[in-house]
Point group: C2
Chain length 205, copies 2
DNA sequence: TGTATATAACTTACTGGTTAGTTATATACG
DNA sequence: CGTATATAACTAACCAGTAAGTTATATACA
């Protein structure tokens, strides 16, 4: 046990991430409204006023969490779509697998869940999330499907609907697991397996 | 303008519905936490203490809204699945259409959205919603698909996955519209048209 | 290299509100 | 005129954000 000889330390480089870690934990436990800035500060090991040195408001914390937790995945998916044009089917599979794996982590899913909860009162955040995350991910999937259609490996379907046929079940799986606390005996990778088969080959014999 | 000669009236039969109407409106505007019981009471035309004569807590209001707003639709869908066994494809189409139409009404979608927002802190409500609404609707769809498989009009797929392939895109459409405020130029019925075609015939040529 | 000084990074203590739920009392109406 | 139905006033908390003061640490310079 090394007792600190000082009451606090300067850690300006590390603080923002520590605060965001704390905020995410608090938001998961209490939701956006009920999460207390005092509590977030305490978890980060500083005082409430210290939080306000780095983030101007509670809302700013959520915005920063979108950037830190979610945006990198949107970028990753966009990369897959660009690189994987030669094998649309395999790339689709890969992207869906990455998405469902990430969404099975409660700390990841927490952010989209918060967006759903507060979008009515913070339309700016909803718009930000739509344009920076969702539309980018959709555009990536959509362009991949368009490539598949051009190559003749996919039917000439509406890419927008096809995207929803991929994303919808992934979304459902996340809500089932995290919101409804339903059984999750089947591993995510196997779910994607079956879901993609259904998407490619259809329900008809 | 007919000024009331009395300060208030006894309306015990009508009050609960009036209160629930007010609560739903308040929840839509502010979310569960930020909605104020005072405001709900004022909208219902009574005092806050009056609300507590009929509902024991804020949470009880949400529970009652599940029963009043959502449960009837689950029952309706279950009925379709039972009656429509002779035409699985048409019944699937019908059920998806009803679901997407209902979910396009903000006052309907508000309840599932609230569940998503508060399920972490009120696991009882999440469990209640899962068993009374979602599992019933899923069972209905699942049995319908099983009938189709038995008749040979559907491939022998896992019904659970097939259900997700139907519900997922419907869910996505609702979130896109209400949460992300995205474009909704295509009418719900047409979305279902394309989505069902994709589900039945698959993405492959 | 040791120390005075500047300032970034922190804290404590507070403001100015907010709100779910309760209690005591009043009134409509069968 | 009894009582179910209603209210006003209250309690006992809660909390985002701020102002003013304090301390750790970098750096200038003797």
């Amino acid at each position: 046990m090394t007792l600190p000889k000082t009451r606090w330390r300067r850690r300006s480089a590390a603080r923002p991430d520590e605060i965001l870690d704390a905020a995410l934990t608090a938001f998961i436990e209490a939701g956006f409204d009920a999460a207390r800035m005092d509590d977030i500060a305490a978890r980060a090991g500083i005082s409430k006023a210290g939080v306000y040195l780095y983030f101007g408001s509670k809302e700013a914390l959520l915005r920063a969490l979108i950037d830190r937790e979610i945006a990198p995945i949107a970028t990753l998916l966009a990369g897959f779509a660009e690189t994987g044009g030669a094998d649309p089917e395999g790339t689709l599979h890969l992207m869906a697998t990455v998405a469902i794996e990430r969404l099975s982590d409660p700390r990841f899913f927490a952010v989209p869940r918060l967006i759903i909860a507060i979008s009515g009162r913070f339309p700016d955040i909803a718009d930000y999330y739509r344009t920076e995350i969702v539309e980018r991910a959709i555009a990536a999937l959509s362009s991949l499907i368009a490539k598949g259609v051009a190559q003749g490996v996919f039917r000439p379907v509406d890419p927008v609907l096809a995207v929803r046929a991929v994303v919808g079940p992934v979304l459902f799986a996340a809500l089932w697991r995290h919101v409804l606390r339903g059984d999750t005996d089947v591993p995510p990778a196997r779910v994607i397996e079956g879901q993609i088969d259904l998407l490619l080959n259809g329900l008809k014999p």
